[in-house]
Symmetry: C2
Subunit: 464 residues, 2 copies
């Protein structure tokens, strides 16, 4: 069944109902589709007919020629029921309704939503929305949003969001962070298609390796439980769930008409199914950075190398709180570092190298240590010192080591970097380590993301 | 008594013991002091004598002419005891020992630390350190650190940190965030001066309005309790405390030789004394942004204006969890916004204006609402839309309102902004709102910082 839902992400032909010559979705969607290489597959409908962006506007859905298997609806809310009937009559089964003003908008809206439900049942339509911006597929360029970047580099992350704006701004943020998105689907009021349908679709999608889910409330708790269980056996699902409090629930009710259950119920559901819950937007983004770029660890032993004991202590606190260990490195590592270390240096874990200049050597030793499963170098150089000393990339390499090579020497270990302090140092280190190593600004969130990786590893390899 | 501790921040003359011509603290501190306008007040000592940076190097502390009331010690650890005796004999009472390798560095170090304790007692020295970088005073330029920016703009924030690097990187980070620091003091192993002495000093300092404290363990729990109580009655103290876990405690022990008590004891201590504890470095920074720029709220009612229901829900969840309310605005506000709003818009709180273009109008109405005590506008525009629509500052003003004016219309209300999505939007909005309004990337941390402001208001105005 889900195979057909592929139509939403890869239609043969699209009809846009509500195309118009004044500013709005009906004006901009054709421009966006053309820019993204889908102009030839689009047909437009408006009762007034005429032309838009140099192409025919059909007066009725019935007039649109083949092939067309997906409809995008952006007409005013009151016209949606008759529009859906026209679409059903034309034999189109897949519909994205972007118009708002239904279940989320008071009594009149709820009544209107019931009306469209009837039409959906009558014609057996499969519907995303209403009150959404539909889908973005960066693999083939297809996109139903009003305005979208011409091209995002496609990657291994897919997003499911109840909120249209949420999906959109995640795309922006991820792109800036060098995170590459395969598909994004925004669900809105979910009169038909819900997060479970999309989880199943993305479960089967070979281009999706990490699924990011923003949820205001489950459409069907029992099905969500079964679906998450099945999906997380193969792919991590990172969840941000709002409506944790009564006030938050009221906010989501008026947003996408969601009824949220109790927060502890959701906590239990995510824990039992192996989904990873983020406690904030920042945490969701950090986890996505780590899951989309790092391997799963084979153990929970974290090695911390730092130039500041304070950062080592903060990272250690967070690691232990989140279920990681920060054990002594092996005797070999200790001896290796000790041999070069000045007297004042404590060779342990977290390994505070202070201003010894041994950061790179210590990182190398810890990375190759069989007693360490994942690495967190924390760089903490005051900018005035940095500017004075690190005048060339060669000097940076001398001090911090050949980070890219060190990382590549242990591809089976998660390896992320934290740079606390000046943005310029962070930017330089990002270049130095390359795109496959996320660089964080704060030790706690970096550690939290690593611990999520370990949690998921235990879920997906329970027998280990 | 504390008046004399002023000497650390505003000495009449300084002797640097351990000046040297090879790279290190002894070489760089004179350069830094000169750059910051303190070159004429510095005398240098090294048994070899000669010249450094064009100035005389005295062979003995005894040879240094008047006036000199502060010594900075950077000689190797083993020479520190005799150096301190020389300083005591010369009649200098205030000393910053930057050398490491004492209580934090194993048995030999502990023994050496005991030795210097004896000298300190004998000469009744007042000592900051060892194992620190001492002080930075941006009001008069004085600074004992190896390398420091020539000038940071002075402001209302002062920092007390056990860790030298921590103080240094906070200075960098704060500067990038337009946060202005008055003084920073790093304490190291605290053989004499501890956080309580410095809290008392900054309590009396008219240039300090917000105190940021990084603590690994209290030097004297009972005194810390009394001191914090006294200070927080007048000035907020924001605390980041590491050593929350056993492993974290071990890390701090080897860092500054701190013995940390149980974490719940500290939680109780901070709660009872009205100090505000941050749970992470990111939270400490966010709180500093809000405390140093915003007034204390007169109530806990938060108004949220957003273009995305999802962000409104996430912010509301966090607000309620942290003890804030997100109540309905007044009838007048509702009617004002309702009059212009499209049908699909729910006029409530959080106020999701969607793509109505009413962000500024709604923000204005909420800001002037007597039922709202603090404001959090959350801007969530996809970058492709932003680039297409917000082509001039005038258009930004049309949509988001004259944010600077709106903010200034209610100077008694905390007002901070959140921009979720593209960095360019954030940068533009930062220019639009001006330096006195912090702009965050994530709704949860913004709300947490506002709630800390409300907690502190209750502490400092218990009778209200």
């Amino acid at each position: 069944m889900n195979d057909k839902l592929q139509t939403f992400l890869n239609p043969q032909g699209i009809v846009l109902v509500g195309a118009r010559s004044s500013v709005g979705f009906g004006y901009s969607i054709p421009i966006t589709l053309k820019k993204r290489g889908w102009g030839d597959k689009l047909f437009m409908v408006n009762p007034k007919g005429g032309e838009l962006h140099g192409k025919t506007v059909y007066r009725k859905v019935a007039d649109v020629p083949d092939p067309v298997d997906l409809a995008i609806v952006v007409v005013p809310a009151v016209h949606v029921p008759t529009t859906l009937a026209d679409i059903g009559e034309r034999g189109i089964r897949y519909v994205i309704i972007e118009t708002a003003g239904f279940g989320e908008a008071g009594e009149a809206g709820i009544k209107l939503q019931e009306e469209i439900n009837q039409v959906v049942l009558r014609y057996q339509l499969r519907v995303i929305g209403p009150n959404c911006i539909g889908v973005v597929n960066n693999n083939n360029g297809f996109c139903s949003a009003e305005i979208m970047e011409e091209a995002y580099p496609p990657g291994n992350i897919s997003i499911i969001a109840q909120s249209g704006v949420f999906g959109n701004i995640l795309l922006d943020k991820f792109c800036l962070l060098n995170l590459k998105v395969s598909k994004a689907v925004t669900l809105g009021n979910r009169i038909d298609i819900n997060e479970c349908d999309m989880l199943e679709l993305l479960h089967q999608d070979p281009e999706t390796e990490v699924i990011v889910l923003y949820l205001e409330g489950a459409a069907d708790g029992k099905r969500l439980k079964e679906t998450l269980k099945a999906v997380t056996a193969d792919k991590p699902v990172l969840v941000l769930k709002s409506g944790r409090t009564e006030s938050g629930k009221r906010a989501t009710a008026s947003h996408t008409g969601s009824l949220s259950g109790s927060d502890s119920t959701y906590n239990g559901l995510f824990r039992q199914t192996g989904a990873i819950r983020a406690e904030s937007l920042a945490e969701l983004i950090a986890m996505t950075q780590v899951f989309s770029t790092q391997p799963l660890p084979t153990g929970n032993r974290l090695g911390i190398i730092t130039g500041s004991g304070s950062m080592g202590a903060l990272a250690t606190d967070e690691a232990v709180t989140c279920g990681l260990e920060v054990p002594l490195p092996s005797q070999e590592t200790i001896e290796k570092v000790r041999a070069e270390a000045p007297d004042w240096m404590n060779v342990k874990n977290p390994l505070d190298v202070g201003p010894s200049g041994l950061f790179g050597r210590a990182l190398e030793a810890m990375t190759s240590d069989p007693k360490i499963d994942m690495l967190l170098p924390i760089i903490t150089i005051p900018y005035a010192v940095y500017r004075e000393i690190i005048t060339t990339p060669a000097i940076a390499t001398l001090i911090y080591g050949e980070m890219r090579k060190i990382r590549e020497s242990a591809p089976e270990k998660p390896f992320i970097v934290c740079v606390v302090g000046h943005d310029q140092v962070k930017a330089d280190i990002e270049l130095m380590v390359g795109e496959s190593v996320p660089v964080f600004e704060s030790p706690e969130i970096a550690v939290k993301a690593l611990s999520a990786l370990w949690s998921y590893r235990q879920r997906s390899h329970p027998a280990d």
